[in-house]
Symmetry: C2
Subunit: 380 residues, 2 copies
């Protein structure tokens, strides 16, 4: 199927992909008097006395905002808020379909960190959580950090953490397949944008002790040019000796490669230079850093990509619906690192006997969102 063509057609035919529906009847004058005036005054009065009651009496308790500034939409780059809307609508309907979480797209006409933070705070009263989406690094890090600090509802930048949870879940199972332990492997991360930073930090939280992180200029290292405060902090943690080098250098003898970078950056030779039973997450999409058949032929033991037409698809729809479902049901004020690790563990356990071709549950497996949301709530 030509997904692009079909997608354009369906967006035009339906004028987008979602709609608002009433969950109460509005057929009679009595119905109107209950749903609207004069009856509606009563829930208003109850909430006016105690703001917390908005969680019970309005959509706040089950609705999140999917917020973007359009600065890093898919692999398309800075295409602006209007052009980002089809992705945000897609995200919203996935939230509903997979976790019965209501979600509404908010596309911002600003890419200034202060203005984004200010605007999200001002619209927050009507929402139970904020899913930040497709905001470019490094702005996304500060936007997320400040909103987590300044809002009393959970805020998560999915590009960082949703993908990270799914990668960690897959890695846990891949390590079981090759019989290695997370604290003894060396991980090479290629790509230091939102996704790369999110994955790197979560893997470290989950027990990885040896990591090399590269951006387009090679290994990140203190004092190197084109760093930023977030790369500096990570480099200080994983690369205290300020080692430098390119991907071919870094990947030698590594156990795990995770790429959120560009098509074709990983060669057959690089895979051959990796340690025994190498694990490869080639997540550049739609064209991976190395095609699975080539990686496997070069000796890799497990290969995951972002594509649905190969085994082991890293699909963040496995994570974000359940994470926010748990956050809303638990009325959490923040989504912690421990919750994300717990979500990944729960996801990995959905595959009871992982193999090289099955380290990930299917997004359509029954109960994924429930498993993830329960794990998130259990951490509290």
């Amino acid at each position: 199927m030509d997904y692009n063509k079909k997608s354009l057609e369906i967006h035009e035919e339906k004028q987008g992909k979602m709609e608002i529906r009433s969950t109460v009847p509005i057929e009679t004058t009595d119905d109107l008097s209950v749903a609207y005036t004069p009856g509606v005054a009563e829930p208003c009065r109850v909430i006016a006395e105690n703001k917390e009651r908005a969680w019970d009496l309005t959509i706040k308790g089950r609705t999140i905002a999917v917020v973007t500034d359009g600065s890093a939409v898919l692999g398309l780059g800075n295409i602006g808020p209007e052009a980002g809307l089809p992705v945000m609508e897609g995200k919203a309907i996935l939230f509903k379909h997979f976790a019965n979480v209501d979600a509404f797209p908010i596309c911002l006409d600003t890419q200034d960190v202060d203005e984004i933070v200010e605007t999200v705070k001002r619209i927050a009263p009507g929402f139970g959580g904020i899913n930040l989406e497709d905001i470019a690094a490094p702005a996304c890090f500060e936007v997320e950090r400040r909103l987590i600090e300044e809002l009393d509802i959970p805020v998560m930048h999915d590009d960082q953490h949703g993908t990270a949870v799914v990668v960690l879940a897959g890695l846990m199972n891949a390590l079981r397949v090759v019989g290695k332990s997370i604290d003894e492997v060396t991980v090479v991360m290629n790509g230091a944008g939102a996704g790369g930073m999110g994955i790197a930090n979560l893997l470290l939280d989950a027990g990885v002790t040896s990591m090399k992180m590269l951006d387009s200029r090679g290994m990140i290292a203190g004092g190197r040019e084109r760093m930023n405060p977030y790369k500096d902090a990570l480099a200080a943690r994983i690369n205290p000796s300020a080692e430098t080098g390119d991907l071919a250098h870094a990947i030698k003898d590594a156990d795990v490669f995770v790429g959120v970078s560009k098509p074709g950056l990983v060669t057959e030779e690089m895979v051959k230079s990796m340690g025994d039973k190498a694990i490869i997450f080639a997540l550049s999409n739609p064209i991976p850093e190395i095609m699975p058949d080539i990686a496997l032929a070069a000796g890799a033991a497990v290969v995951a990509t972002g594509r649905s037409d190969f085994p082991n698809q890293v699909n963040n729809v496995l994570a974000f619906p359940g994470i926010f479902k748990g956050a809303l049901e638990g009325r959490l004020k923040t989504i912690t690192r421990e919750m994300l690790v717990a979500a990944a563990e729960a996801l990995s356990k959905m595959v009871p006997e992982p193999t090289a071709e099955e380290i990930m549950p299917s997004p359509f497996a029954p109960g994924v969102a429930e498993v993830v949301s329960s794990a998130v709530k259990r951490v509290v």
Copy 2:
């Protein structure tokens, strides 16, 4: 029925009144690839090339924001954004039910004019129109004026203009019932908040030439205390001689009384002092300025209220769904005064032979939103 009790129950049971629904299938991997990645990249690219295409390819073209700051919710006053949410949800489902317009509540955590304007502008890319709701006067006038100026999508404060359209429609028919012409009657307006100012201005636009406007301190007049720039402008137009006086004074010999004020302010004696065949719109809700039976007994010819349990209910649901339906379908950049007058005329004509007990179509009459939206589009 105890509407308050029933409303609280249904809000609690349903956790609010609306939900997001997908309008496309998401059952298979192929569905995901069309609704989300990789296919969704195509509509994104098309919009990135031409922003206008967002109107065709996303919910923007059929979705409006219902924006409040919670400063003047129903008759409950300044109860804040969370407590205003039940009303905004109600409004949203009425938009959908009566005009198939998708609407989403945005409850703002600010009551500062500059911040409201700034915030609405920043979230505007995802919407095809802005319905301002329950924002207190006089802030609402400046918020609306600036947003109309600064945004390229239609903005309307429904408390001002929606109600005004319905009052004007009803007045046109009431005048037919009593055999008077709009340009020869004297109208007394009691209440100079958002609703009163909106009605006064629309009646003047529609041909009223003699009007007295009162707030809680009596007739508005240049130089009087407790005026504001909006009252000043209106007073200069309708009261150049700066006449002052209370309601008992102003209402004497008037043909039409319109109250958006407080329960019981109009006495039997005041009605008796009005001109022959007086028309009374007693819109204070749920308790009108004077009860219909008392007004009729005192000689009024036609009485309208805001209540559904008396004849001639002034219900703004007759206007706002169709007005925004027309604005969206016509891709209008603004909703003009002429459009509002045209909408009122079209509404009034839905009652082919008005009587004292029927000057208004029912909100449930088939085709109301279509009639209003067609009238709005015809003006362009």
